[in-house]
């Protein structure tokens, strides 16, 4: 572990291949891109964390409305600051890769959408989600009436046990029937 600096060992590479849905080239590319985010003296240190702000300068994440959530979900930092190590970064790319399974994708999607990290999608989460999807500008925002209608419709559809929230299994049930979730839940470097 901890060979994030300078060079990836052969064993690490094969272990990463075993543990992620990425190919060798993708891992190497990820490593390259990750080390580009590091400053010079950080490169020699193992297990460096890259802060959320610097991760978010990646063009792949820059315009994603869930960028902060993504960092937060994949970060293993104790301070909950959304900073990523190289391994977290690989986890991220693996979940968003082409060949990742629906199960893992939907799991992470759920955690990304679960804004308050309480394990269910409740009204607050859904509202935040809608706001993320409709953008920050006022002209694309939904009115409160529309928002209410939308959220009640969503709960009507996907809240199977009628507890007022969408839990992980309900979420996965909904997602698994979607035709284009797997093709759109992708990030490639």
């Amino acid at each position: 572990m901890g060979t994030t600096a300078s060079q990836l060992g052969k064993d690490m590479l094969s272990e990463y291949q075993e543990l992620t849905f990425l190919t060798k080239q993708e891992i190497l590319l990820a490593h390259k891109r990750f080390t580009e985010l590091l400053t010079k003296d950080e490169k020699d240190l193992p297990n460096t964390r890259v802060s959320e702000e610097r991760i978010l300068t990646l063009p792949e994440l820059k315009s994603n409305p869930f960028r902060k959530r993504i960092c937060h979900v994949f970060s293993t930092s104790e301070y909950k600051d959304g900073s990523l190590t190289f391994e977290d970064f690989l986890d991220l790319l693996s979940a968003f890769s082409d060949s990742a399974t629906l199960e893992i994708k939907s799991h992470y999607a759920f955690r990304i959408f679960d804004f308050d990290d309480d394990g269910t999608l409740d009204c607050g989460d859904l509202e935040k989600l809608v706001n993320c999807l409709t953008g920050e500008t006022d002209d694309t925002r939904l009115t409160t009436e529309e928002m209410r209608q939308l959220i009640s419709n969503i709960l009507e559809e996907s809240d199977i046990d009628k507890d007022g929230t969408v839990n992980l299994s309900e979420f996965q049930h909904v997602i698994s029937r979607s035709p284009d979730f797997v093709s759109s839940f992708k990030i490639v470097l």
Binding site: L19, F66, T76, E87, C123, G124, E156, G164, R177, I187
Partner: protein, 917 residues
């Protein structure tokens, strides 16, 4: 360190213990003996520590590897020790000198702990529990010597190993953090490695080990091969880049383009390898026979660029076209059956295309078949509408807008409150729009027909007397129509006021009709021309026989013994060869189509982008945001263009074997050109569509085009007799006679007999009947499956509704219960308060209850999910029964309700009142 150990030999065990002791101290797991030993061997520890620190300088990973090895060594040794312990008591005695059985065991445990600790160190996350540890320890102690194991234990061990293996394989699918995964992987790998070898006995063991090794190697190979395969996919990086800028819909065009490229590559290989190359290498060389020579009249201009550009001159008399091929049955030393090969490649091209398209369609249908139902309309919009590939802020803005509109639309549709303000007007406008479009289509069809007829006239006059425009009129008109009519349709469709999705479908349908109409008018005109040429051919044929007769007569009259005069092949009069003409027409069409595509790309996209970009500095309004702005990438138009291009290839490939090669070239260039154009001068679409939905739509169009384009080709092949003096089928009545010829001369007699029986209508008709029946049967079974599916869906829905009703009922009941409870509560409270003297208190309490009741009522109203939830949050229907239990438990405490924000207040009331009692 290992070397030093080897030197120490017998002291190895002690060193091990030292190590263990050190670790133990670190864990403050005090052991008296260990301590003592530590004291004894302090210097040695120091040396080992020194080694350790030296190693720390090294790469951390290698250190770890060594540590692992070290440990394994230790474990092997330990196993050894235990084996000795079990088998030879004498040796155990000697061991006991060193610390006794107890210590050995302890050592083993500590060994484990050490490992554990290492794991913990590296993970910094206490994922592994001590229980686990102990379990494994037990395992270890039990399964040290495989020979001493009972079969059941072996079986268990095997199971455990298999389980671990499965764990390793499924690890990547686990949503854990990388550290946890790494730790688990290493542990499991270690476990597997350790015990895998222990399984099986004697020979079986070796075999097992070998098998394990091979599977490992095989896995590695597979992984490398996978990597190699992904590295081999062409343009993957380019497409990914586009994907990340423009989303998946634009990328889907490029993926489609790549797929087309693959198909054309195979078609090209077929025609190139089986037709063009054999003829060029083994057929008679250029200039030996009339069909392979440029006629004398054209020889002077045969090398001119203008002529070559038109695919006349030397290009016409080459392997590129049908007419060049000789009707010699077998060519070269391979005795290659050229005409047969030509025919079969033509058929194979079509068959392969059908196969690929239909297979892809079926696969797509399978994939998308799951998500057909509309039951999660809103949730899908919510959870899956964001395209995570979007990496461009502009695209992101457009996506925001489109998501918002889709939400709004969905809400509107749900409310069904869309009132048509004037249905008559819209109807009228739609009819008008369709009428206009029909006019456009008819007009364009007539224009093409007119132009083709005119060009025939020009061709009769001789092309040299006309301008460039007049010579290329047909192709130019077709390309221009293909360019401008869609724009016209776009304008017309604004009249109709359709929903954008419906509008897009209409638009696509109209463009499709336009292209198809143009293509078919072109073909009809070509048919006319073919007929003309055939009449011309008849005359020429007659002329040739008289010419030959005269030639023969003259030679005979001059000198009967002289050898026949050799006539230059260029001088021999020849027929018009309509097949080559058709091939040439198609090639020209493709070329001009390609040119227009590229030129529109350069002018419409690039030049526009450049102008907008640089004129913007000195213009009176904002060009980038205002009128011209940058162009969008038109996915549907481009896909349609590609599809029609492919249709032309399929149509013309039989008469011009060079067409697939040309198309490969074209697609190759467009890939680069369009990638570049998209990245440098297009802006993302405003209406962002999902790629997956339209995939099969495009495929279906491709299939239709394939069918429609093979139809005329097959018609000409089957009905029109080939030219008498050019092409591989010259001299035959029909082109497919080549099959019969082959059957008669190349296959044994019985085969042709069998074939003739098989092609007997008496056999063919029942066969066709059988096929029809089979199709009918499959159709009906699929229908019944579908019905069953619908039935199941209905059942699910009714069940769902029942559940909902039940929930609602439960909620209602809970509510009534609650109200009753509250009534009794308030009554008792009133009673209390009546008993108490203070009126003020009572009023307060009533107010409180009233407000709370109102609040609660709202929450259990008609809408199970409450519209606005504030911090006191969810009080969902299913949780409603809970108050009852509360009520029962605290029977004597009225007003004490759960989920009740101010529950303390009634209590407050109650307590003083009780005190007052």
């Amino acid at each position: 360190m290992r070397a030093s150990r080897a030197g120490e030999g017998g002291e190895e065990l002690q060193a091990e213990r030292r190590e263990k002791g050190r670790r133990k101290r670190a864990r403050s797991d005090q052991e008296a003996t260990g301590k003592e030993r530590d004291k004894e061997e302090q210097p040695k520890i120091k040396s080992s520590k020194a080694v350790k620190t030296r190693k720390n300088v090294k790469n951390e990973k290698t250190k770890e590897m060594e540590e692992k090895q070290e440990e394994e060594e230790g474990e092997a040794e330990e196993r050894n020790v235990k084996g000795k312990k079990k088998h030879g008591s004498a040796k155990k005695e000697t061991r006991e000198e060193d610390g006794g059985k107890r210590t050995v065991k302890e050592k083993a445990r500590e060994e484990k702990k050490k490992k554990r600790k290492k794991v913990v160190e590296t993970s910094s996350e206490q994922v592994t529990s001590e229980e686990d540890d102990n379990e494994e320890e037990d395992n270890e102690e039990k399964e040290v010597r495989p020979e001493s194991l009972t079969p059941e234990e072996l079986e268990m061990l095997k199971e455990a190993v298999d389980e671990r293996k499965k764990l390793i394989q499924g690890l990547r699918g686990k949503p854990w953090s990388m550290k946890k995964k790494l730790v688990t992987l290493r542990e499991s790998q270690e476990f597997v490695e350790k015990y895998e070898g222990a399984l099986g006995k004697g020979k079986g063991r070796k075999l097992y080990a070998y098998k394990v090794m091979m599977t490992k190697k095989w896995m590695k190979f597979q992984r490398d091969f996978e990597n190699f395969k992904t590295a081999c996919i062409p343009w993957e990086m380019k497409i990914k880049e586009i994907e990340s800028h423009f989303g998946s819909s634009v990328a889907s065009y490029f993926i489609f383009l790549r797929w087309m490229y693959g198909i054309n590559m195979i078609l090209f290989c077929l025609t190139f390898g089986l037709v063009m190359v054999p003829e060029a290498l083994m057929g008679r060389p250029y200039g030996t026979i009339p069909r392979k020579t440029v006629p004398r009249a054209e020889a002077a201009s045969a090398m001119d660029f203008a002529v070559l550009w038109d695919f006349g001159g030397y290009a016409q008399y080459s392997v590129l076209f049908y007419g060049y091929y000789n009707n010699q049955r077998a060519i070269g030393w391979l005795k290659f059956r050229m005409p047969l090969s030509y025919f079969l490649v033509g058929v194979g091209t079509v068959a392969y295309s059908y196969m690929v398209v239909i297979r892809t369609m079926a696969r797509n249908a399978n994939e998308s078949g799951v998500g057909d139902d509309n039951s999660f309309n809103f949730s899908w919009k919510m959870f899956t509408s964001w395209d995570y590939l979007i990496g461009n802020p502009e695209t992101a803005d457009n996506k925001f807008a489109s998501i918002t509109t889709s939400f709004k639309e969905a809400i509107l549709e749900e409310q069904e409150s869309r009132k048509d303000d004037n249905i008559h007007l819209t109807r009228f406008l739609r009819v008008l729009a369709n009428f206009l479009v029909l006019c456009c289509l008819a007009g364009s069809g007539y224009l093409i027909y007119f132009v083709v007829r005119r060009s025939q006239k020009f061709a009769l006059d001789g092309l040299e007397n006309h301008t460039w425009w007049e010579r290329n009129e047909v192709n130019m008109v077709m390309s221009l129509l293909g360019m401008f009519c869609p724009m016209l349709f776009d304008v017309i469709s604004a009249l109709e006021n359709y929903h954008p999705r419906v509008a897009l479908q209409w638009q696509l349908g109209r463009i499709f009709a336009l292209f198809l109409g143009n293509l078919y008018t072109f073909i009809i005109a070509l048919m006319d021309e073919i007929n003309l040429k055939r009449e011309e051919e008849k005359i020429i044929k007659f002329n040739i026989t008289t010419w030959e007769a005269s030639l023969y007569n003259s030679t005979v009259s001059e000198n009967s013994t002289a050898p026949p005069i050799t006539i230059q092949p260029a001088d021999v009069p020849r027929g018009p060869c309509w097949e080559t003409m058709v091939g040439q027409e198609f090639v020209r069409l493709i070329i001009s189509d390609t040119m227009t595509t590229y030129i529109t790309l350069l002018i419409g996209d690039f030049l526009r982008a450049v102008l907008v970009r640089f004129l913007n500095y000195c213009w009176c309004w904002d060009l980038e945001a205002g009128f011209p702005s940058y162009s969008e990438f038109d996915v549907s138009g481009n896909v349609l263009g590609l599809i029609f291009n492919q249709g032309m290839i399929w149509m013309g490939a039989f008469y011009a074997p060079c067409l697939p090669a040309l198309n490969v070239l074209r697609l190759h260039v467009s890939m680069y050109l369009q990638c570049w154009a998209v990245m440098c001068c297009n802006v993302p679409q405003e209406r962002v569509f999902k790629a997956s939905g339209s995939n099969n739509f495009y495929m279906a169009m491709l299939l239709v085009i394939l069918f429609l384009s093979t139809l005329p080709a097959i018609y000409t092949i089957v009905t029109i007799p080939p030219s008498f003096d050019c092409g591989p089928f010259s001299g035959k009545k029909r082109m497919f006679d080549v099959i019969q010829e082959t059957l008669e001369s190349d296959f044994p007699a019985w085969f042709s007999k069998v074939f003739s029986y098989a092609s007997n209508p008496g056999l063919v008709l029942p066969f066709i009947l059988l096929m029809v029946l089979a199709i009918y049967y499959l159709q009906s079974t699929s229908k019944s499956y579908k019905e069953a599916n619908v039935e199941l869906k209905k059942k699910l829905q009714t069940q769902n509704e029942e559940n909902k009703k039940k929930n609602k009922l439960a909620a209602l009941k809970a509510q009534t219960d609650l109200e009753e409870a509250r009534k009794t509560a308030s009554q008792s409270a009133e009673l209390h308060k009546n008993n108490s003297a203070s009126r003020q208190d009572q009023e307060d309490g009533e107010e409180d209850h009233g407000s709370c009741q109102r609040q609660y009522h709202n929450k259990n109203g008609r809408h199970p999910p409450p519209p606005v939830r504030d911090q006191d949050g969810q009080l969902p229907a299913t949780r409603a029964p809970v108050p009852r239990t509360y009520h029962h438990v605290n029977h004597g405490s009225p007003g004490y309700l759960p989920g009740f924000p101010r529950q303390s207040e009634p209590k407050m009331h109650r307590v003083p009142s009780l005190q007052r009692h």
